[in-house]
Homo-oligomer: 273 residues x 2
Amino acid sequence: MLYIVGLGLGDERDITIRGLEAVKTCKKVYIEAYTSLLSFGLSSDGFSRMEKLYGKTITIADREMVEEKADEILTEASKFDVAFLVVGDPFGATTHSDLVVRAKKLSVEVKVIHNASIMNAIGVCGLQLYRYGETVSIPFFTETWRPDSFYEKIQRNKDLGLHTLCLLDIRVKEPSIESLCRGRKCFEPPRFMTINTAIEQLLEVEESLGVSAYCENSRCVGLARLGYEDQMIVAGSMKELLGVDFGAPLHCLVIVGDTHPVEEEMLEFYTIK
Amino acid sequence: MLYIVGLGLGDERDITIRGLEAVKTCKKVYIEAYTSLLSFGLSSDGFSRMEKLYGKTITIADREMVEEKADEILTEASKFDVAFLVVGDPFGATTHSDLVVRAKKLSVEVKVIHNASIMNAIGVCGLQLYRYGETVSIPFFTETWRPDSFYEKIQRNKDLGLHTLCLLDIRVKEPSIESLCRGRKCFEPPRFMTINTAIEQLLEVEESLGVSAYCENSRCVGLARLGYEDQMIVAGSMKELLGVDFGAPLHCLVIVGDTHPVEEEMLEFYTIK
């Protein structure tokens, strides 16, 4: 059996009782490193707290390992119980459909244990989940790569009066260009897009496309470390949020659409005075 | 302190460790009955298992009580720790913004403990969350009340190639019309819309409006008891799903938009052959 267990958003204590019980029965436990590096891997303290609470040795599976060694993990899961831990929900912002598809093709039984993800916990800012349009991702711009496909989606949501959740880029274990040229793998340090960078990029695209999907006065909500003890939520114009230091990752951003009175009352608590 | 604790979707074991720890410190524990009646209230066995696991006596707070006695609950929370348990996530499909707003106005500290909700767990069917448009609610039609505001939203999502999550009506503790006339409150038995009823209503609206937002051949995914041990997921045309018995509530329905290959591979597992 392969258990795919959502860990939620905060620390090791955000696993569910059902999830913890499943992990405890497993002979082998992996954790996907893509986003989890954030919560656990970056602090070895957090990681060892997790191993202690779960009572298991946990193998960190980076993206490469999940892609290259999926069959190995699935072979194990065909013989004994294996847990694959993921930050958030198994089908949240980062989906693990691929692993599920491979498991099902090999007739390995899969059990999914859900948890909170950014896709529902974002509701905490007071904007109602059913009033969101399509979610967009904002990638890091480079000198030569400045994609703007998110722009059209934000504009459509705005035209419909809907809110837009912007997921901000995470770069973990990216091979450095230099190392690729030399033919051996060296990795760039992890990078997480801040709300400030996201807004700068958004405004740059607005300036070049100029269809007024938003402007520096557009109302937004910036959220940092959602679900953590020290989460931070600030509402204000893009311009105002540019001046806010949101601190450590993960950050995300909501561009506010039309609002209902209850939504306004909630936003009020987070608005820059 | 008021803890608003998400319970997730299945049974009492879907609470997080963090949530359980919070509940254990509380002097008073309420559970909102609106949707929770389903998971716990309808089976007294489930309810007592919950009280046993959490080590607390739990007061069921129906809608009326939450609205009428919110100030009482909040006064308690200003003196000692109170937990308010909600099925799913505190800001999922049924939001508790109202309670949070009232608490903040009274300067009662609020801590939200997130969990899975239908709004992210729906990802389990393989359609990616960021490819969903606005969520719609399908209410029970009556002789005289047949609202169709969902139709336009489904059509817009379809035009954009997005999936639509349809939340189906739940009627708990509705005063019967007869009792209202007599001036004392008697309640109708709880009703939960099935996927079959939802599709019948959807097709009825399509027939009367006729703008081809969908038809009986439109591809859908029906999900029953999402997150439960016996959850059921079936993909097929509206016509095909009409013939499926999905069993006990809760049901929900997804109208499928344009799909990516990985989404197709996942849907394949659930498709009626």
